[in-house]
Symmetry: C2
Subunit: 613 residues, 2 copies
């Protein structure tokens, strides 16, 4: 979380930085700020709130500068306000710093600086780091680059930083450990820095992913990369394929709505080249050398957070049912602080849209240290998790900007389904006919998702009726249980309505006490082996006067008479149902949030990619 952008080159830096901050705003938006060299020396402007508040602040200011850096924040230390916003000046204002991540030993460093007579204007760990670098610079006699390196050698924690100094208007120094940083190599010796490629892509496709413990020094139009031990490394320039259109709204009111409607294509993209139903062929290129190992594995541990954890729960059902491999799904944050049992032959699958989720990354490192083979399922190409894993499969959903994940979820489920199917086939635990059938049905998913999207107006009407609901319960059984969790999470995230998912039969063991005429209950009641049981659960809810919105299989004539509202979705094999049943729940959450006047793409308190613990 938090967004970083910086520029040095022949252009006006301020518009580049502000535009970049807007593209990055989905990463955090508690406050924003920029640092410029505008002829009056090193100047910092910052403001609580969105980037537009910062723009207003800059009106009428002298912003001419060919170097600049900006930050949009998701608060960890200290509440969101003007003072805690980045950039932070150092004590003597010789430099300014922006920072993503958490400096864990900041209190000790602060104590030492306080003893030397320093004072602090903010509560942030970032200001401490800035003052620390300046203090070394002033007292050790070396260059700013030396000071940054020496300071970072002392730091415990995670960071991506950019430093500007008042003494050199051609110099940007950046460093990373645990928090991503991308360098864009532009034309005429210009350089861009950003926490992800989205602010860079409209200027250049040539990027360098900075590695942990690396420092990038841009000075007088040259780029040098050194390690913390001061050895120089040669950067590898990647060509990125992201198109500008992919990170713009394209006529939709919100990124989230655009991304929901993109799913027929994004799901197809995540299958492209991997599924050939007519030939009965399935292949995940990135896992080719590891597929036998997966098929032979005694146990799979899936780790993720939030929506990715839900995708993992779906995968658990599919892997266990088809490939007969026991699966354990763990919250990354819990996994990493235990002493998890990893045996030889165990496979760990890490799921993360951004590929930067701090808890998931740390869990991977722990699993690695125990000798596990680790697969990654990420969306962002070249991300930290993609690079930290032994092998993996990208979800190819395209950039996801809406903070509430939608197309990334269905793409994750698609890739995990392919993985499970391929493992089942190698292991011989799936019949050839079922395998073929599921391949054909997989290929039909995009068209079926399209059909669900055509019901958007009906879902909008239902959303209108429940706009002011205070609570929601979501129920499902089997593979639809994690979908219920995911549907509830969507509503929570963007409407701030307290929604909770449950396996339908657990209602009786407590949550049914919540049911009365004020409690809407969304039940995924598609026709599968647990249909009759779900209907019994609906009757229990109706007997307590709960209002039921049922997601039903098309042609179900029984449920409409039993519940308050139905949303029909096409038939599909129960193993693939989550790819369809998730869609109406995304739309329901979206429309309710819009009708409540929420900022759907940037819900309060959240950030897109959680790069702090």
């Amino acid at each position: 979380m938090c967004g970083i952008v910086a520029y040095v080159g022949h252009r006006e830096a301020c518009p580049v930085v502000i535009k970049g901050l807007k593209r990055l705003e989905y990463r955090g938006y508690d406050s924003a700020g920029v640092a410029l060299m505008n002829g009056h020396g090193l100047k910092v402007y910052k403001k609580k709130g969105k980037v537009v508040a910062l723009e207003r602040e800059l009106e009428g200011k002298e912003t001419h500068s060919t170097i600049g850096m900006g930050h949009t924040r998701w608060a960890t230390h200290g509440e969101p306000n003007d003072v805690n916003a980045h950039p932070h000046y150092s004590f003597h204002r010789k430099l300014a710093i922006i920072h993503n991540g958490i400096i864990e030993n900041y209190a000790a460093i602060k104590q030492a600086l306080l003893k030397k007579g320093h004072t602090f204007t903010s509560e942030t760990d970032t200001e401490v780091l800035g003052q620390f670098i300046e203090d070394i610079w002033e007292n050790n006699g070396g260059t700013l680059e030396d000071a940054v390196r020496l300071a970072l050698q002392e730091v415990v924690g995670a960071y991506a930083i950019v430093v500007m100094s008042e003494t050199d208007s051609t110099q940007l120094i950046a460093a990373r450990k645990g928090s991503p940083l991308v360098i864009g190599v532009g034309e005429e010796n210009e350089f861009f820095l950003a926490s992800d490629a989205t602010p860079i892509v409209e200027y250049t496709k040539d990027v360098i992913y900075l590695n942990d413990y690396e420092i990038a020094v841009i000075k007088e139009g040259d780029l040098k990369i050194v390690n913390l031990d001061n050895t120089t490394t040669t950067p590898y320039v990647h060509k990125i394929e992201m198109e500008l259109a992919a990170i713009e709204k394209g006529g939709y009111d919100h990124f989230m709505l655009k991304e929901i409607f993109e799913q027929p294509r994004s799901i197809a993209d995540s299958m492209r080249g991997r599924v050939q139903a007519d030939a009965g062929i399935l292949q995940l290129g990135g896992l080719r050398d590891y597929m036998d190992k997966l098929a032979r594995s005694e146990r799979i541990v899936i780790i993720g957070c939030g929506t990715s954890w839900h995708a993992g729960l779906v995968a658990e059902y599919i892997f266990e049912e088809l490939a007969r491999i026991p699966v354990e799904v763990e919250y990354a944050s819990e996994f990493r602080y235990r002493n998890p049992i990893i045996k030889e032959g165990d496979i760990v699958i890490a799921i993360s849209q951004s590929g930067e989720t701090a808890d998931t990354l740390a869990a991977i490192e722990l699993a690695k240290s125990k000798g596990a083979t680790i697969f990654g399922v990420c969306n962002v190409v070249g991300s930290s998790i993609a690079r930290a894993t032994d092998a993996g499969a990208y979800t190819h959903a395209g950039p996801e900007i809406g903070v509430a994940s939608t197309k990334a979820f269905t793409a994750q489920v698609t890739v995990l389904t392919i993985m499970a199917l391929e493992a089942a086939q190698r292991k011989g635990t799936i019949s050839e006919s079922l395998f073929r059938q599921l391949l054909v049905e997989l290929e039909s998913i995009p068209a079926k998702v399209e059909m669900v999207l055509q019901a958007a107006d009906k879902i909008k009407e239902i959303a209108y009726i429940f706009t002011y609901a205070r609570n929601f319960i979501y129920l499902g059984r089997g593979l639809n249980f994690p979908v219920a969790l995911e549907g509830a999470l969507k509503l929570k995230e963007i409407s701030y309505i307290h929604a909770e998912g449950y396996p339908a039969a657990e209602m009786k063991h407590g949550p049914i006490a919540l049911i009365d005429e004020d409690m809407p209950v969304v039940v995924i009641a598609t026709k599968d082996s647990s249909y009759e049981k779900v209907v019994s659960n609906i009757q229990e809810v109706k007997a307590r006067k709960g209002r039921v919105i049922a997601i039903t299989t098309e042609g179900d004539t029984d449920l409409p008479g039993m519940v308050d509202f139905t949303i029909e979705i096409p038939k599909v094999h129960s193993m693939l149902m989550p790819l369809i049943s998730a869609i109406p729940l995304q739309l329901l959450a979206y429309y309710i949030a819009v009708m409540r006047g929420r900022n759907v793409d940037q819900p309060r308190n959240l950030a897109k990619s959680v790069t702090v613990e």
Copy 2:
């Protein structure tokens, strides 16, 4: 769920039945009814609501009868009202029936009877069964006993039934499959029937547990038990140890409060004869022959519902950490409808307070069919689950009457902890010193729980402040995560406030959007290895103006300055913390519910023991 009681003998039946219904009311209380033979033939009286409503209905009626049966209902088919209440007359009113469970093929039987010209006054499956029995009795020429037997041979589903006929005022016919039924053998040839022993214990200690597929025929002071195939079986008379005082409130306002305060003793009872810290000895008698198998197992699957599922999650952490055996915790309702992977050497542990939970029982049967070795952890001696498992350990918490489970939870955790410790010792995965330390600390738990209970008044004050909260979030990490889930469930069950538990670090991945000044957050922040991380999570909540109630370790001087309220609990090894940290959350839920004027012991929509799916 649903309570059954019946009597035939020398006493007045009506007061016995009414008193019994009140003792059983914790099993369901949507409606209640009785059937009597009062000189005007077979008479049924029934009423929506609690048993007191039924008593009011009976005022001024002729209730003299030495035979009678009664029922208190938790609705499954048809809403709770007078008509759907039990007992149900048959079509020609020759018999009346009361029933727990669900007749799955009732629709088909009903169709056949409708064709014969029958009509139905209720929507229940029970009325269908009663008419079906009468129809056979009228048309097949045999006795009522024959008719019951023939009817039950056709029935698919679960049931405990009692039938009375207008032709014989000495005869009660009862039968069970999947739903418990206890026969009390009294003095002077009197008999009691009930869905559990609580209504019987004040009259006699001699009971017979009816088995599945058995029919009990009481006639002219004699008892005969036959199987569905009409072979006679010899019943085994058990002596029960339950004391009347154990099922009365003993000066407390509610059973729940009494049971919370009983925990120092109930936890001690669940350790009695099992833990000898001074000698370094641990033993679970009921598992003696299976302990090696447990220690050698490659994988443990724990199944349960509601609170028992939470106890299973606690056990997962302990088994994995100490005994290094991978554990999977499953909702019984989900497990039973999948094709679960059970390998030779896998152990299944089923947890249920009542030992009658329908989903858990069905899950056990499925696991058995796959060849698993099954352990039971139940509270009710002689319950169906205790009898269906290969081995087990009773929790010895004493009868739990409050619908929201409290002392059963801590007793389950105690027994599971002992089990994990013994397995770890046999396996050699725990050091002798840690083993000894944990035994000593286990023995100290009752005294520490007592200390927490002394803070009841402080917790009551906090409860007062949050009486009208609309939502609550509960957070914990590690072993305190399942405790957070359990704390949220308690509040849900008895106060009807929507409360939800989360692993603390997951907040950032969505739920933090719910946080504002109206959202109280309970955080279990005891001093253990994840303390610092939990403090970071608290800061994230405070930065969004959430109101935080922290459960802290005594002597923590940092958190009081950071959060709104603290509740101190004694230090204990983190593996045993759930036994302590659960207590303040039980009290918080209790006091909030009382202040909201809720019926704490009989929360709406719930029932104590969930004997339907």
